[in-house]
Symmetry: C2
Subunit: 96 residues, 2 copies
């Protein structure tokens, strides 16, 4: 009985993990596209004001169970990943 | 024209951020529920084998644009957050 309950919760957790993975990668693609548009128009890729604005929108919607500081820390990591991805693309472009 | 394109991409990015937030918090709730079931049955909350298994399932499905090592690092952060959440719950329970 309890193992069934545990298995069910774990199956849902595995599905949430894969949904997160899919969204993270979708986010990466979007950031790459935004980087390309910015590059075409000679705009700076990193925009701290836009980053703060994104973070505020996220924190406004947050309602637990995690602490606000934990969510903020995680999203800063996610933003950093996207920036590194753009820098990789830029380096690759320079090598061509 | 290009600003319209940028605005559209940014609106989609904001939506992806909120979907991520929602999944992260859903994940937190599931981990809390799993912790409760485990506690009831005197099982250890932290299970490194299960964590490795979750990570393998995620990496099997991953297909970019991020590096595998970046995805692994991010999910280890997410797992750690969940563990800290359980520890907080446990501490709160001890205080009651």
């Amino acid at each position: 009985m309890s193992n069934e309950q545990l298995d069910k919760l774990r199956a849902e957790l595995d599905q949430v993990n894969l949904d997160l993975l899919s969204l993270i990668n979708r986010r990466g693609q979007l950031v790459q596209q935004i980087g390309e548009v910015k590059e075409k128009h000679g705009m700076n890729r990193f925009d701290p004001v836009r980053e703060r604005d994104m973070l505020n929108k996220i924190l406004e919607e947050h309602n637990g169970p995690f602490e606000y500081s934990t969510i903020e820390h995680l999203f800063k990591e996610i933003f950093k990943m996207a920036l590194e991805l753009q820098e990789d693309d830029h380096r690759k472009a320079l090598l061509v």
